[in-house]
Symmetry: C2
DNA sequence: CCCCCATGTTTACAGCGACAACATGACTCG
DNA sequence: CGAGTCATGTTGTCGCTGTAAACATGGGGG
């Protein structure tokens, strides 16, 4: 998916001058996020890698933050996709929810900079309060798994609480691990997640 | 506590040249953290406020990060103190643990920049794995409340799981709120925290 | 065919963290 | 009491950053 060219695209040139600079910058940014935190990525470094002057970036993004926001969106989408896939692969229901949670933490561990960025510069729209089909792809997996798991008769407020509960737990786990406050032990993560499934705790 | 002088201290001069520059910088940093995130605080701005040249800071901190780390430590200590106080005021036990958790989230909401900084540049020592009396003051409150609440017969691993569970939940809640992913509703926070108390969920 | 405008470049500026060389003044010791 | 040392603070500088303004260019639509 991410071609490895550091210079300008040649084949996929659908743009005008050079190539798809916007896309190239995003690919470069994601690549750099594998090696360093977002705050260490300079606009100029990305431009350099793209083989382009620093100010060319401003033709595609109003400022550095906007570029990072684009990377953040990509991160959210990847996370959401993995969660949905994991939930489906586990057959949905309780196992699906647990799998979705494990995937959430795993993603954070595997892509710390991207995970951090995804939330740090996320749009301030409260994902939990959006209707499911607009809730970005980020929380779709978790919320769908929870919705499926809860007794349909439950009032919406209880559903919301359950979703918040599950989300907070995995998010807290992820952040504490990333910040080095606790070690990453998959078995432990799994235990803690299972203990929180709706049904073990009252909604 | 934080005197409001922007120039050099006069009365509390226990230092040599000007005053207690190190202390002044920390006070200034905490003040600035009330108004902006840590990454927006420049070493030069702090020096300016202290009425001192930029490089004077390097006499007291090896670099900017070290100064921020000092602020982070202060944040951790404040948070820990508040938690212990809240737990004690609630009479310990289950109510104490819930109070400690509520205080954790509240602190984050009230001091977003300081809270973030406290974890972002925390020493990478896994607080949860330290003996209680060395565990900094950060997690003391939570862990003491949990220890008190759990049946003494429980094996240490179960205690650890319970602590991690509680900590993850409140930390996740706090971060999601700070990142604007969910709104801050004290009642909701309280509900979610109560649902996680050891005893509602199996350890 | 030509011109327009999206895309990219050059130049410039202020602010940043950090290093090296220098100044100063408070405390110590003879 | 006088000298000198060393912690503390200053000046000057460097390379880097984000970003604004003015200029260049070339591909596609009139």
């Amino acid at each position: 998916m991410t071609r490895k060219d550091n210079s300008v695209n040649i084949e996929s040139r659908r743009g005008y001058h050079h190539g798809d600079l916007r896309g190239a910058l995003i690919a470069i940014g994601l690549e750099m996020l594998d090696a360093m935190p977002a705050e260490a990525i300079s606009l100029r470094a990305m431009a350099r890698r793209a083989g382009v002057s620093a100010t060319a970036v401003y033709r595609h993004f109003p400022n550095r933050q906007a570029l990072l926001a684009a990377l953040a969106r990509e991160g959210m989408e990847r996370l959401g996709g993995l969660q949905r896939a994991a939930s489906a692969a586990a057959g949905g229901g309780g196992p699906g929810l647990a799998a979705s949670g494990r995937t959430y933490v795993r993603f954070a561990v595997d892509n710390p900079a991207l995970f951090r960025l995804a939330f740090a510069s996320a749009p301030a729209t409260a994902l939990l309060d959006l209707p499911l089909d607009e809730a970005g792809s980020a929380m779709r997996g978790l919320r769908e798994a929870i919705a499926e798991l809860l007794p349909p008769a439950l009032p919406p407020a209880a559903r919301r609480d359950a979703a918040l509960h599950a989300w907070s737990l995995v998010h807290g786990l992820a952040m504490l691990i990333l910040d080095g406050q606790v070690g990453y032990d998959p078995a432990e993560v799994d235990r803690v997640i299972r203990a929180t499934l709706p049904g073990s705790a009252a909604g």
